[in-house]
């Protein structure tokens, strides 16, 4: 079976290779990782400086992604683009100095950095006498699969590496969008977007088992999973300026039906410790399946004071409603059992300093993983900072920094950790004619 039911190898690996655990593997420990589920990355430096809280406050091209209705607030033709840089660090090993007598993990740290072009958008307001009619076209990087893991298992009797495991994952899903917004009343706007999703996931696992005695074999294994995603969906947004001080918004993401092509290559190379016979296995398997993402619902509110805007969003998705096609080989019941309802939430603030043509931003957001995990210790949380500069009344430069953490622990001793630290940098430049 090609689908990525490899027990979220990163995590389960901790469990499988550790001799200090004695439980049987049961369904509680089974993980099904579908990369396209969740993995929110964030679009736009202004948005991500405010913790991603934009459903009621977007006032630029990022509205195409965050709430299409907010496009109605754009009064000038806007060209914008952005880049992102992500630096992910993953530390594995024992917590503290405690080590079991029989065997132990060597503390490892791996860092992966990726700089990517992340967005390009055009916003075209139509001249109106009253109200607003705005269209937009854009490309935005919506999901990131960048991830790394390295773990080393030491044989205490020899002090040599017993098993070394490496996992590298890169890629993401981009979204091409066409949308528009219109004012239904002085303070009510509605908008929509049609989105084409396209992206790739490149997941590489490498294992090396070193013979600890003369009776065991040396094994090298390399698995590579390539996924090619494409799909369509639509998004509706609503925005209401209830007063000069209060804005509210809501969004509905309609289900996305992804068509997924897979290419799995397997390389196995072992040398028998006694006979020195070598076994090499190479195989490649192609596959295809469809996967339908469920509805997502978002709501947000913003308080607009003289020089300060406070904003908050919630976004709800029931990932247990992931629906694979039968030919994918993944039992839909497995998704229902393992995936769960998730509420992502964002809060942020923006402080205007017009004398300096500068805006300062701060925010926070929680992005829970979409599946149940007995290993989860700390879910994904991000602290954000940002700044925006208005240049010569026609251009804005926005920058943002997001710092996030999350951690997994073994479910038995709570002594083995897999700790992630993520830093995301966003830069956006917009020019308004």
């Amino acid at each position: 079976m090609l689908s990525k039911i490899f027990s979220l190898a990163i995590i389960l690996f901790l469990f499988l290779v550790s001799s200090i655990f004695s439980q049987e593997i049961d369904r509680n420990y089974l993980q099904v990782e579908e990369a396209s589920a969740g993995n929110f990355f964030g679009v736009g430096a202004r948005a991500m400086g405010m913790g991603g809280a934009q459903i009621a406050t977007a006032n630029d091209a990022s509205g195409l992604v965050n709430n299409p209705a907010r496009l109605a607030k754009v009064k000038r033709i806007e060209f914008s683009g952005g880049m992102t840089h992500q630096r992910l660090n993953n530390e594995t090993g024992f917590i503290g100095n405690a080590q079991p007598l029989s065997s132990y993990y060597q503390n490892q740290s791996i860092t992966q950095s990726n700089t990517r072009f992340s967005s390009a958008n055009i916003v075209l307001p139509v001249p109106t006498y009253r109200g607003s009619l705005v269209f937009a076209l854009g490309f935005n990087r919506m999901k990131s699969f960048d991830h790394a893991f390295h773990s080393t298992f030491i044989d205490p009797t020899t002090g040599t590496i017993d098993l070394d495991a490496l996992a590298l994952e890169t890629g993401g899903i981009n979204m091409w969008s066409f949308g528009g917004a219109i004012d239904l009343s002085p303070n009510i706007s509605v908008g929509g977007a049609v989105n084409y999703w396209k992206g790739q996931d490149d997941y590489l696992q490498e294992y090396y088992v070193q013979p600890s005695t003369k009776l065991t074999s040396e094994i090298r294994e390399r698995n590579r999973y390539l996924y090619d995603y494409s799909g369509w969906n639509a998004k509706l947004g609503f925005s209401v300026d209830a007063s000069k001080f209060l804005s509210v918004g809501a969004t509905i993401d309609f289900p996305t039906k992804f068509s997924i092509d897979q290419d799995f290559t397997f390389n196995y190379d072992s040398t028998d410790a006694i006979s020195r016979d070598r076994v090499i296995i190479e195989s490649e398997e192609l596959g295809h399946y469809d996967l339908t993402h469920p509805y997502s619902f978002g709501a947000g509110a913003a308080l607009n004071f003289k020089f300060v805007t406070l904003a908050g969003d919630v976004n709800f998705t029931d990932w247990s409603q992931l629906k694979p096609s039968a030919r994918g080989g993944v039992d839909e019941r497995l998704y229902k059992e393992i995936y769960q309802e998730v509420t992502r939430w964002h809060v942020g603030a923006e402080f205007n300093m017009p004398e300096l043509a500068t805006k300062l931003r701060i925010g926070f957001y929680a992005d829970p993983i979409p599946f149940k995990s007995v290993y989860l210790k700390t879910d994904r949380r991000y602290f954000t900072l940002g700044a925006g500069f208005l240049i010569d009344q026609v251009m804005t430069l926005d920058v943002a920094w997001n710092h996030g953490i999350n951690e997994f622990r073994d479910s038995f001793s709570q002594m083995i950790k897999e700790s992630y630290t993520t830093d995301k940098f966003f830069v956006s430049l917009a020019y308004r004619l």
């Binding site: 000038r76 307001p125 006498y129 607003s132 219109i182 300026d241 205007n352 017009p354 009344q393």
Partner: protein
């Protein structure tokens, strides 16, 4: 299907947003003679001063008046540049050659690169005879007109039609 129905319902219900002002008979023949640039607009649109960046273009922070670079970037519609140019010396002059092509948006209160113009305190329609609005051509637009305008028209339809 739900999405299509929603979009259809929005447009079928009639839309608040309109692209151009309803035609005003004889307007092009009249010189603009208000004592300030929006004087006659408020004859029909009494609440216009609530929307200093255009008629019903939404709320805007008041401090934009003191920092017109923000007003220009976030609130000043690009088509005002096109139809009204980049006015100087107060921004109260409408180029006559563009009037005919105008979308008939109310004249911009904001002067790019300069100081904002504070909206006058007038909030009620002015009913002086010399400022009575013109007749609305009903066959050109379904846009409802304020009641005040209809009352004035019944008094004297031959009065100057100089409102914009």
């Amino acid at each position: 299907m739900g999405l299509i129905l929603t979009i259809t319902a929005i447009f079928a219900a009639g839309c608040y947003t309109v692209l151009s002002h309803p035609g005003v008979k004889g307007e092009e023949e009249q010189a603009y003679n208000g004592s300030y640039y929006r004087e006659h607009c408020t004859d029909c649109h009494a609440d216009y001063h609530q929307y200093p960046y255009g008629y019903y273009y939404g709320y805007s922070p008041e401090w934009y008046w003191n920092y017109p670079n923000y007003g220009h970037y976030y609130m000043y519609p690009w088509w005002w540049d096109w139809y009204y140019g980049q006015p100087s010396g107060g921004g109260t002059t409408v180029p006559s050659e563009r009037l005919e092509k105008s979308r008939r948006s109310l004249q911009p209160p904001y002067v790019p690169g300069g100081q904002g113009i504070n909206p006058p305190a007038l909030t009620q329609p002015n009913t002086n005879q010399g400022q009575i609005p013109g007749t609305v051509e009903e066959n050109k637009s379904q846009q409802p007109q304020p009641k005040e305008e209809k009352k004035v028209e019944k008094k004297d339809e031959k009065l100057p039609k100089n409102r914009r």
